[in-house]
């Protein structure tokens, strides 16, 4: 193969940069936000209070609580938090459902406590960090109907406040949306509409896949007849919103897709998708005129045995996309890995040490405000209700050390 001097020098530079970066400290330094409860089951971020710093929300499944952690400025200091009750919580998120300027907490629960619960925030910043000031109310139409697994807040019908798109697993498994009523605090007025039957929803992402101006729903479903990665097409017409939406298969229909994420290539107006499969490999789906091309990337041999999540971003700031992956089955193995592409393919490096067994999804975010992307995740020690895992943690990218003023 002929490689032009210009391309050769770029590849050489890329290899040099990757090598230089790889020689930096691996694994990365781990910092703990909280490890004092049981079963940290995923982390999401939100600008919750008024300080423009990213705050973290995490449900603790075995602990039966959800905590919203407020960024302390210096992320190595103690993260103050507010706590709401949430038995068997599987996912937690923030959204200002009643549009009072104070983001509320929404929790989704499975097990024997199947429901979606809104925890209304007090409309006073002095009270916002006081747990007793929060008021928890279940949405009646969600109680005991199915095991709720994942949710996002989104304006679906352009009516009233934010709606909730929610997915579940097991009997009655479904993906649908909870339509917000005129007064969202009247919880018995929320209505559920099924978009598509599901087996075990792992991810829900909103993105305009077909570029028609309306956000579609991208999902990964790991079990059942409808398993796979697919997108549900926004019907565009109001009168079709409450019926099932057209679904389009992307791939992994014979496998077990876990969490997914999205990216764009600089020369494309379409959205690429990256998904972790449970075993063997992760997949990069590339939109083409005829559907979706698929590029499989084998899991690093040093990583945990079961893939869990994938996050995409320019971690080493060399201008190309890097992958951060998390794993289950990571006993004596690495639970968080970084993959950098070079001219000889993907090179893998451990971000974590070998502590931890079951990691959840990873998010790339600059938590220490030093200008590079750190990795936020959680580890739950195989759902133990007696021995806490690593909890809510973040790994510090060693690329930049200088803190922002």
């Amino acid at each position: 193969m002929f490689i032009s001097p210009r391309v050769g020098s770029i590849l050489g530079l890329s290899l040099f940069l990757n090598t230089a970066y790889a020689q930096m400290m691996f694994p990365w330094t781990r910092h703990t936000v909280d490890n004092t409860s049981f079963g940290a089951d995923g982390t999401k971020t939100y600008f919750a209070n008024q300080d423009s710093l990213p705050d973290i929300i995490s449900g603790w499944e075995q602990g039966g609580i959800t905590r919203l952690y407020f960024h302390p400025g210096d992320p190595n200091q103690k993260w103050p938090y507010v706590e709401v009750p949430s038995l068997a919580v599987e996912d937690a998120l923030l959204a200002d459902l009643d549009e009072d300027g104070f983001p509320d907490i929404i929790t989704l629960s499975e097990g024997q406590h199947r429901r979606v619960t809104i925890h209304w925030a007090p409309n006073d910043w002095q009270q916002y960090q006081q747990s007793p000031a929060w008021q928890s109310v279940d949405i009646p139409c969600t109680i005991n109907s199915t095991q709720w697994m994942f949710g996002v807040a989104h304006q679906v019908d352009d009516k009233y406040g934010l709606d909730l798109i929610v997915g579940s697993k097991g009997q009655g498994g479904t993906l649908g949306w909870l339509e917000a009523p005129a007064n969202p605090r009247e919880v018995d007025q929320w209505q559920f509409h099924e978009i598509f039957p599901a087996g075990w929803i792992m991810s829900i992402e909103m993105v305009d896949v077909n570029r028609d101006g309306y956000s579609d729903i991208l999902i990964s479903d790991r079990k059942g007849d409808n398993r796979g990665v697919r997108w549900l097409e926004h019907p565009t017409k109001q009168d079709k919103l409450r019926a099932q939406w057209d679904n389009h298969i992307i791939g992994l229909t014979q496998d077990e897709p876990m969490f997914l994420t999205m990216a764009t290539a600089s020369d494309s107006s379409l959205t690429d998708i990256y998904a972790s499969n449970l075993s063997d490999h992760m997949v990069h789906f590339i939109p083409t005129f005829n559907g979706w091309a698929q590029d499989n990337i084998t899991f690093p041999s040093e990583a945990g045995t079961r893939g869990k999540s994938i996050a995409v971003g320019d971690v080493n700031q060399d201008g190309s996309i890097d992958l951060v992956t998390t794993y289950e089955g990571a006993d004596q193995k690495y639970g968080v890995m970084l993959s950098l592409v070079g001219d000889s393919g993907w090179q893998h490096y451990p971000i974590s040490d070998t502590l931890g067994r079951k990691f959840d999804f990873a998010k790339l975010i600059d938590l220490d405000q030093d200008g590079d992307l750190d990795v936020l995740t959680s580890e739950e020690n195989n759902n133990s209700a007696t021995q806490g895992g690593l909890g809510v943690i973040w790994y510090e990218n060693p690329l930049k050390q200088e803190k922002h003023p």
Binding site: Q50, D158, D208, A263, T264, D267, T271, G313, D314, G371
Partner: protein, 190 residues
Amino acid sequence: MDFTNLVYLKVGNVRQQATYQLLDELQLFTHLADYQPILTGTVPLGIDIDSSDLDICCEVYKLEQFAQRVQKYYGHFEEFTCWSSTHQSVSTITISFQYQHWPIEIFGQGLPTQQQYAYRHMLIEYRVLDLANARFKDKIIELKQDGVKTEPAFSQLLGLPDDSYEVLLNLEYFSEEQLHQLLDTKGYLK
């Protein structure tokens, strides 16, 4: 580069990622979907400074109706202001507010967003930055930190005559080779 697909922010630099989250929290592009919004300005180009705002341009023909819609969703945010003026000989409306200390400016005009100056300037600046070396980008940021606006900063470094907002648009007709040459003569070619 397609600036109309916001997913590029999700895999962008630190500030672009934060912007993606912030826009999602506000549901800005969902609420304004009927107006073909596009994020413009310096954040998409990675040349923003701490005081940079998030600029969103929209295609708006009924200014009052648009203002009411924005007011409905964002009227309660700090420093919410709304004013109308004429730009490119077209009636325009500008709405600004703050969210989490981030200044946000929404600009509505009765022109398709891809014909508006803000978007056209951004595309030219993107092409230039794509061909320019790191020193050029650093100098742009430096000038901005000294108080020079983005378009005058580009014009200054490229040695373009005054009235940078109009003059910069002339570069739309430059081929890659011509841009290449322009940067080369100024010592900013990658």
